[in-house]
């Protein structure tokens, strides 16, 4: 064995474990605001991901244990689960997780090789294939007034409850409401008077966003993630939304409203910061984050879906090799980071 003969006490497992820990405030807020259904979703996604990961590792001839214990599959499962409606049917969860692990991760070469963020690929596939189920969001408990127990939630998810039970708790999300309202020629101010809206974001939803933000700050404080991607992402959302809002406040939502959608906070701190599918250079991280933020607003405003974080991140994933190539930082001694074909 050659030098160095010492290593820092860090590992991929440790990095992934911290990401999971940092998601706990968001999960807690989710349970508090929307009921315990998310726990069933998380558990189902986790089991599916672990089984799929083990099977794929075995099929590809990799040692199962070291790769399974890196926890990366569970991170993917949790991120996807947190993007799904919390009472989504079981087959939706399983399909999305399988697609994320099997196709987006392993068919692209496994850990460290995937071009696209696996959780976002799973999410995008589900959104395109099953738009109805993907937009049946339970409303905040404070509005629906019918708290569901863990057993009730499980029954809904596994199809053991009449559809009416689900219908009773689902309602349009704040972003849906805004989108529909605008399509019906209402002004933003009129739409915002509806009870689904809270202080700056959606009622309840804004607290969920706050919890993701808190978890994200923990990751930053531990230097698991750099400040560049989240800050640039949030700046992209805020500036793009603010620009539109400044020109026509009646037709475009306020920047703070867009910022405090949970998907933006989850996207900025947990999804766009995925190192494997993101940019690696300091400037590249800023471009990547900012681009994803701006695209999120563009898709929300003019796209076919109420939210755009997943598509924005996937689009920026495509641009990563290009961004990295042209943003190589200067090295010690002042030479540009990439000599243009000089040594060939």
């Amino acid at each position: 064995m050659p030098a160095p003969f010492v290593i820092d006490h860090s590992s991929v497992t440790q990095v992934m474990a911290w990401v999971l820990v940092a998601l706990l405030p968001g999960i807690a807020a989710h349970v508090w605001l929307f009921g315990p259904g998310i726990l069933v979703t998380l558990a189902l996604a986790t089991v599916t991901a672990v089984v799929a990961e083990a099977a794929m590792l075995k099929a590809r001839g990799y040692p199962v244990r070291p790769f399974l214990t890196d926890l990366s599959a569970i991170v993917t499962a949790w991120l996807l689960a947190l993007c799904l409606p919390s009472l989504a049917p079981w087959w939706l969860i399983v399909t999305g997780t399988l697609f994320a692990i099997v196709v987006a991760k392993h068919l692209y070469g496994g850990l460290g090789q995937n071009v696209f963020n696996p959780a976002m690929v799973g999410y995008a596939v589900l959104l395109i294939s099953f738009p109805v189920q993907m937009t049946s969001w339970p409303g905040p408990l404070a509005l629906t007034g019918t708290p569901l127990s863990l057993a009730d939630s499980a029954a809904i998810i596994f199809g053991g409850a009449p559809k009416a039970v689900l219908d009773a708790v689902t309602m349009a999300t704040p972003l849906d409401t805004l989108r529909t309202g605008l399509l019906q020629q209402h002004t933003v101010d009129e739409i915002m008077t509806q009870p689904i809206f809270g202080h700056v974001g959606g009622a309840g939803f804004e607290w969920l966003a706050g919890a993701f933000l808190a978890g994200g700050l923990v990751l930053w404080a531990l230097r698991i993630i750099s400040w560049r991607v989240p800050l640039a992402f949030l700046a992209g959302v805020w500036l793009a939304a603010g620009f539109l809002h400044f020109f026509d406040a009646g037709r475009y939502g306020a920047p703070w409203f867009h910022l405090f959608a949970p998907s933006v906070m989850l996207g900025a701190f947990f999804i766009a910061t995925d190192p494997v599918s993101g940019s690696t250079t300091p400037l590249g991280k800023l471009i990547f984050g900012f681009g994803a933020g701006v695209l999120t607003i563009i898709i929300r405003t003019w796209g076919g879906y109420p939210d755009g974080v997943a598509f924005a991140v996937l689009l920026m994933n495509v641009a990563v090799p290009l961004i990295d190539q042209y943003t190589q930082p200067r090295i010690y001694g002042g030479a540009p980071g990439r000599e243009k074909g000089s040594s060939r």
């Binding site: 050659p2 003969f5 090789q113 250079t281 190589q328 010690y332 001694g333 002042g334 030479a335 000089s342």
Partner: protein, 555 residues
């Protein structure tokens, strides 16, 4: 006046493990029975032996002289008899033997005549030659011949940095040297200053060595030139030359250039001390301080004769069971030794004995997740994750585009990698592949040039021969024509006929000449033998044909 320090990018905080060995005084290691002194202890050409097997040598006697400008002499570290000159195991990671001079010591440790050098009386070039013959090379680890570095050349060198960083964990030889021999270090600096014409002398010492800083400051106060002793923050690799320059001056050495290009030269404190011994005592570089630490009973520093087997020092420090190997240098950049019996050389600053408890085996490697922690800690400000990708893919051209050769192999990237990838290994591999390809390309270019020249030469010779022949034929024809013209004009046809006859005769003679001669005039028994052999061969040929026929007859 306090100096504003600058922070170089990257670096890591390491557990320094200095306390293990810096508490004990320096011990002089006894003269071993046998010294094995490699000829290649410095960067550049290996030294050329000037002694013979069986010759008696004295301590400090030159046993191999410098070969060329970038080289340094090698001396007998003690008195005795030369018993071997040739390949022996040397402290190199490859485990390949290299040329060494082996001396059986006589225990007298008798010095050759030596005297101080009047350095101010000598011309700088002569002084440098003397220092080269004193075997001086950088003792910080790179062992570059000091005489070369002491030549300011066309550049002025206003700033001289004396490097007492010693940022590698476990190593404390520079620390002990500064604590106990500060005055002599600065005496060496006096000579360096004389040769380089430096006006600013900076001594950089990591702030985890307060005793060394205090000792150097106290010594500096007694000198007639200004020496600034500066405590620099302890962060690996603050003792790297480029990092020390940036910390102290805020300047970076441009990529692909030398520090002297920006008017700065850097020497290790040990080199300054060795220089002082050479100039003021006439002692060549035959010993150095070596830290022996890690898995030994009494980690400490020894004054060691070059050529002493490492195992003697490990024995002195207290060998322990459970050792898993020996490193030369520290844990970040040190080299694993092929055996603990290899000799101490000029580059040996530390002998680090490993054990599973101190250096547990590294965990299995996982794929790179592009987390860029390596880029965050890279003091060369490279993108190690990209270099890794290119090296792994064998895309060496792109690795070079991304400045593979600016990597100083400090090991920070490997240290922080959460996937436990031995990144530095990949860079070393890529570098050696590129060097090998360049060597091959140079060899191929040379071969092509040679081949082209050969073709050109053959062509030229052919032409010259043809011209010569034509001239000769012309002369002959003229001669014959003249002859023919004399006895009566037999004409052009006769002349031609004569020419042909002459050529035929020449050919006949030549044929007779080239006919094989070894079967002519053989003694009769030899002739018989040959005939027998021929007969046997004919028979064998006959036999070889037979099976075919029998096959045909017996279907």
């Amino acid at each position: 006046m306090t100096r504003v320090l600058h922070r170089f990018k990257g670096g890591v905080h390491l557990p320094d493990h200095k306390a293990e060995s810096n508490g004990r005084p320096i011990h002089a290691a006894p003269v071993p029975r046998q010294l094995v002194i490699p000829l290649r202890q410095h960067i550049g050409n290996p030294a050329r032996p000037v002694v013979e097997v069986g010759q008696q040598v004295l301590k400090g006697q030159i046993i191999a002289e410098a070969d060329g400008y970038i080289s340094a002499a090698v001396h007998a570290s003690s008195s005795g008899t030369v018993t071997a000159i040739g390949p022996a195991l040397v402290p190199h990671v490859s485990g390949l033997p290299d040329d060494c001079i082996t001396i059986e010591t006589d225990g007298r440790d008798a010095w050759i005549d030596h005297a101080p050098i009047d350095y101010q009386a000598l011309a700088p070039a002569d002084l440098r030659m003397r220092l080269r013959d004193m075997g001086l090379a950088g003792l910080g680890g790179a062992v570059f011949p000091s005489a070369v570095k002491l030549d300011p050349g066309a550049h002025a060198c206003p700033t001289l940095i004396v490097n007492g960083g010693e940022c590698e964990p476990w190593i404390t030889c520079d620390d002990l040297l500064m604590r106990t021999r500060a005055d002599e270090i600065l005496q060496g600096v006096r000579v360096m200053r004389h040769l380089l014409g430096s006006t600013e002398i900076l001594v950089g010492i990591e702030d985890n060595k307060p005793e060394a800083i205090a000792a150097m400051q106290a010594a500096a106060a007694g000198f007639d030139f200004a020496v600034e002793v500066i405590a620099v923050p302890t962060i690996y690799p603050a003792g790297g030359a480029k990092q020390m320059i940036e910390t102290l001056t805020g300047r970076q050495v441009p990529s692909g250039k030398l520090s002297t290009d920006i008017g700065i030269q850097v020497f290790n404190v040990g080199t300054a001390y060795a220089l002082a011994r050479a100039v003021f005592h006439g002692e060549p570089l035959i010993s150095r301080l070596v830290t022996v630490t890690g898995h030994v009973l009494r980690p400490q520093n020894f004054e060691v004769l070059i050529g002493t087997p490492m195992q003697r020092l490990i024995d002195l420090a207290g060998d322990r069971d459970g050792a898993t190997g020996v490193l030369m240098g520290g844990p970040m950049m040190g080299m694993p030794m092929p055996s603990s019996e290899v000799p101490v050389v000029k580059a040996t600053n530390c002998i680090l004995v490993k054990s599973d408890a101190l250096f547990p085996p590294l965990p299995a490697m996982l794929p790179c997740i592009r987390c860029t922690r390596c880029a965050d800690v890279c003091p060369a400000e490279l993108q190690p994750q990209e270099l890794f990708r290119f090296a792994k893919a064998g895309d060496f051209g792109r690795a070079q585009e991304y400045h593979l050769f600016d990597c100083i192999e400090c090991g920070c990237c490997s240290y922080v990698c959460p996937s436990h990838i031995p990144l530095v290994d990949y860079y070393r591999y890529a570098k050696s592949e590129i060097w090998a390809r360049e060597r091959e390309k140079r060899a191929a270019d040379l071969a092509r040039a040679r081949h082209e020249f050969r073709l050109f030469r053959l062509e030229r010779e052919k032409k010259e021969k043809a011209e010569k022949l034509a001239a000769k034929a012309q002369a002959k024809r003229a001669e014959l024509a003249a002859e023919a013209a004399a006895p009566g004009a037999t004409g052009e046809a006769d002349a031609k006929k004569a020419l042909i006859a002459a050529a035929l005769a020449r050919a006949q003679a030549k044929k007779a000449e080239v006919a094989p001669k070894n079967i002519d005039q053989l003694p009769p028994d030899k002739q018989r033998e040959i005939e027998e052999i021929e007969a046997r061969r004919a028979k064998i040929r006959e036999l070889a044909r037979q099976p075919l026929e029998t096959d045909e007859t017996k279907p």
